[in-house]
Amino acid sequence: MASDDRNFRSSYYEKVGFRSVEEKKSLEILLKDKPIDVGKIRQFCLRFTVPGLYRNLVWKLLLCVVPIHVDSHPFVMKQREQQYKDLLHGLKTMRIVNNQTSKPQLYILMWLLETGKLKFDFVGQLDSELHNNLAAISHTLSSIFESDVDAYWISKGFFECVVKFFNDIPHLIALTKTQLEKEDQDLNEHLVEIGAISAIPFHNWLCCCFAGIISESSLEKVWDKLIGGSCKVLIFVAVVLLITLRRLLLKCTTVDSVLDCLGNISEEVSEVIVNQGIEMWQQSGTSFSTGLTQRH
């Protein structure tokens, strides 16, 4: 098995808390499999932060952009590219887009076109809340990935993912609130008191998976988990976000100041938020880890 090839010290590294020392190697081993075991990669994503070098490939694998057989990757990618070009061409031909159209909008339009949901009134369609959030996601992705084709395809995967849990969002928001109450009662009381709890854009956060709210470099880690299949990580990120900004929030007395405060999150803060959020998520969620051990 793959674990045999791993450094025998890796388990000790993990024990003493050096995560991600051997991640890259283990991921490489996983990727060497033929065909690639998507389940394992998914577990890997849930457990570790994906190294930046392989993020493209891993995300594509998990979002079914490329198949599990490495041999057919070039072919499939060629097809994807053609498809992208066709779509783009079509859109251009129909004069829905031109060269000035922004990438996120383009991606959304392409996606809508591909799924046959594009309407005549596509401008109005783009203006809807969902599509704005999706635009934020694809904006982030387009800055992460250089290739337009990759960006489009991964965006597409995200769109589908978001659409999948879109209906569950109210439930997730409720969970977020209870979690916040559990973790930091004072803050929760304070927010409830000043009425900010209802004003905080939880819906937006969950919908756009924090794209545009947290800086990209940190967001990647969260999205690793998201792609791994856990949309719950978003809850913890939201809670930790509030707890991390606790002092500032407790100072705020009006709803506007709270929102203002939440609007400005620096890169360092977002790094902290993401790390703590993932930690909290890992502590609370034991289901994935048990599954992983069984598989091993």
Binding site: Q83, D86, G90
Partner: protein, 1117 residues
Amino acid sequence: MEIAELFNQLESNQPHTVEEIKKTFHENFNATKESWLVNGLFDYYVSTSSMRSVEILVGVREPHDKHLFDKITDTLKGPLKLQALTLLGHIVRRRPTWVYKITQHQIMKELLKLLKAESDILCLMSAVLVLIVLLPMIPALMGPYLQDVFEVFSRLASWNTNNPTKLPEEHLLHLQVSLYALFHRLYGMYPCNFISFLRNEYGMREHLGIFSHTIKPMLETVRMHPLLVTASKDAETATTRWKKMEDHDVIVECAKYAIDSMEKSREEGSFQSINTSFRSRGSIEHGVALDLSYVHHLKSSLPTSAASSFLSSHLPIDQDLWSPSIFSGLSTPPVEESAPTSIPQTPNSQNFIVSTSLPHQEGTSPPEAAIEATPETTPVKDIRHLTPRHPPVTSSAVRALTTFSSGKWQGITSGSSTPQSQPSSPMKKELSPFRFPDNTAFEQPRRDSVSSVIAQKLNNVHMDRQGVSNEVRQCDSVLQEVHPPHVGDYEECEQETGSPCTSGGLHMPNSRSMLDFARRVHHRQRFYSQCLPESGNEGVVGLSTGSSPGQGSNFPLQDKVRRANSCPEMKKGPGLPTAEVNISRPLDETEEFEESEGPSAHNNQNFRIPNGKTDYARNCEETCRQLLSASTQTVDWVPLPYEHLFLSVFPPILQSCDMKSSSAPSPAPMHHQTDPPLPRLSPYAMVDKYIETVVQGQEVKKPKYAGTETEIKILKEQLVLLNIQLHFERQRREVHAERNRRLLGKSRSNRALDEHNLALRDQLSLLQKDIEKLHGELDKGKKETKLKEQQMQESITYWQNQCIAEQKELLELKTRFQLLQQELKTEVTKHSSLLKEMQIAEAKLFDLGTEMKQAIAQVVVGEQLKESVEQLQKKLLLMGELQQRYRDRFSQLSLLKCPDEEVTVLQDSYISEVQSLQEMLEIRSSSLEAAKTRIAELETSLCRKDQLIAEQKRVLRSLEEEYDDRLEAVENKYIAQRALNKKMEEHMLELFHRLDLAEDSKRKEQHSPDSSGGCQEAIVGSVDSADRHTGPSSFSPHNSPLSQSLSSPGGLSVSGILGRDCVEMKNLQVIVDQPERTVRIPTNTFAGGQSQEQSSTMQSPGTEPPGKGSGQMGEEG
């Protein structure tokens, strides 16, 4: 609370408020560590001299002592040093726990500096007394300061020389007293250092005067210190020496070396203390009359010699009755009211008798009982039993000498037990010669009848010259080390200063001017004449000797008289007619008697304690304590307390001087005028007398000097000095009291041990009784056992006889028995031979029987054999016949014989057959093996192929999957393509529609040129909008081409043309804005005339039926 109020309340006359205030002060002290409180209290004390503030200051705790010392040190440098010294004196006397720190503090140096430089008598006295009190408290810490202390001593000693300003005589006296005390402390505590200092200091010629006039007299009052021999300078300042000694131990130790009766320790057993107690008691009560009558009575009742001796010892008591209270004219209220009343009624003779028996009682009674009984309940008894104790008077000088050479002395004195032999006692002879030179040289030393050891040592030169006894020489050898340098000088000095010396330093008290002395004597005489007419004579006699020049020559005479008197009394004591003579008494007396033969018994009244009479000493202590308590009581209410204190503090001196004066006049009035020696008065005695004179002087001189300021000033100073000294003496008294308590405790434990011993003894006697009883029982038991033994013996002899008879009988029987046995044996042999014979006969018989049986059996067998022979013969016949027949048949068989070849052929054929069969078998088996291997090979190849196939399948599957993936991607692409197509189709349709519209409008334009302008506009507008479509601004829904075309002004004209459709056309703008689904309806209505196909494609994105969709797909594919 206000501070002022606090201080006011501190001086309140309510004791409990004062206590509270003190408590608050102490709390404050505990609360703060700053020095302000101490400073404040100190200032308060300086300004008011409040005793209560002193009490508070003395009680301060650890951090404040330093502040206090600091403050005192500061003040010592200023003008208020007297107050500071007084406070220091108070502190030191109270002895707080931190007093030892004084040596580490600057204050010590300051004090010594002051002592070295100060000329004001008050300050000086305070400082000296502080130093004296301090010395025994911190003996070990004084080492570094010793040299300074010695220098101070030296300065004081040379006071007169160094300080030309004359102090008043009275003040000088105080100074002398303090010097004397300091001397005793230093000598007692640091003898080596001190003597070496003196040697260095007074070895020089210029100091000789001071030495001879001041130091030497003082040296004469102390014994030789053993440490001079055994210790060194360093050893005596070492801490180990002082570790186990408390201050009272030190004081008592110092006092031990004093010859002066005052300084002498009471533990030494001086009976003076008892006398003192008696005297004070008597004086407080109405003892004067009693004693006088008592003396008279004695005179009459006793033989003259005894009476005179008794008088000699008892008269002093009369003079002891002196008390300042008498002088001051105050009547002392009786302290113990119950005690005195019965005394006058008691016959004195009886008293005396009782008293003689008392020692016995005391010897047996436990000390506690004595203590309880004597002082409070029976004061009279106390007096009584003390009186007989007087005779065993002996001098401390004797004791001192005896300690040096006791053996010799014992030998000498024991021989002279009778009064007649006493005059010839060698010691007396020795003593008198060396006294004479003294007398000629000095007035004071000559008068000093205390022949102290050191004095003797100092006089060793004289002694040598006159060939004095060996023991003195022994002393010399010791002494030569001590005073080698100025022995000669001293002698010279003696010779030079024959007349009263004025060149010395601070002279010893007894070197004071005779004038003063005479004056005092005068006063005293006067007083005596007033108060005690009967004893007036004695007073005159005793004191007048001081001025009589030729008394020295009377010394031996006086000596003799005294002895002659005292001894008969001793002898006759037990022999008194009514006396209950006890056995131990004579023993004691002889002892005492021997001691009293000492050479200088005439002047010193120290009692020698009989051996083993410690309870006496204890008794003394107890009475002393009584006395002390009595004195403290008096202090409180006598207006001039210091006088009383002096009285109480110096009792022995009074006693001693009185005794001295009394010792002379005892035997006959003739001697009174001539021979009483003027005793060398101790400083204490001088103070005593001084007080006396002062009191007198005040009475007399009042009219004279009243008003003179100097006098008042001197008197005031004196008052202060006395106060200082009073405090000093009080402190000493307390120290002694502490020691007394301790000793009392020890006596208790001794008593307990005694009782324990008694109990043990009782137990022992009981045990002995038990042993005796057991012995008796043992004897009885022995007798009984003897009787039993005899009986047993008898029975044994009887039984022995019997035994012998029986044995004889037994022998006879044995012989008979042997005979019988022999007979038996012969019988037995006979019997056996007979038995054998019989057996032989029987055997023969048996043989015969068996033979007969065999013969019978053979007969039977023979018959049977006959029968069988017959049968066999028959069988033989038959067999013969059968044989015959077989022979016949055999002859026929030989004809039927067959060949052997056939058999061999058969065998060969069989063998060949078997061989062929075996070959066949081998061939078969080999072919079988070949087939098996073939099968295995085939199987393996089959397996391989299976595996290959499986692998192929797997590859195929993966390939399939791979291609599925690809296919999926392609399909995906296709679906996207189709969606794209659809969208494009929609787009196309829309464009077609727009084209149609444009065509329609064109057609209509042709039909109706009126409205062509509007139509044209519409077309242009639509084209414009289509052009604009490509730009980014076209995203606005209102700019969509359809709506634009619809909302264009041309629309109105169209509606105008269409007529009925006009309303619907207007609404189209609204409808376009609606979501997709609703678009269909207006489109339908709008394109009512258009083909159904178009409408169906319009709705296709949302509602196209699958079948048609697939058909289209097929077409497109």
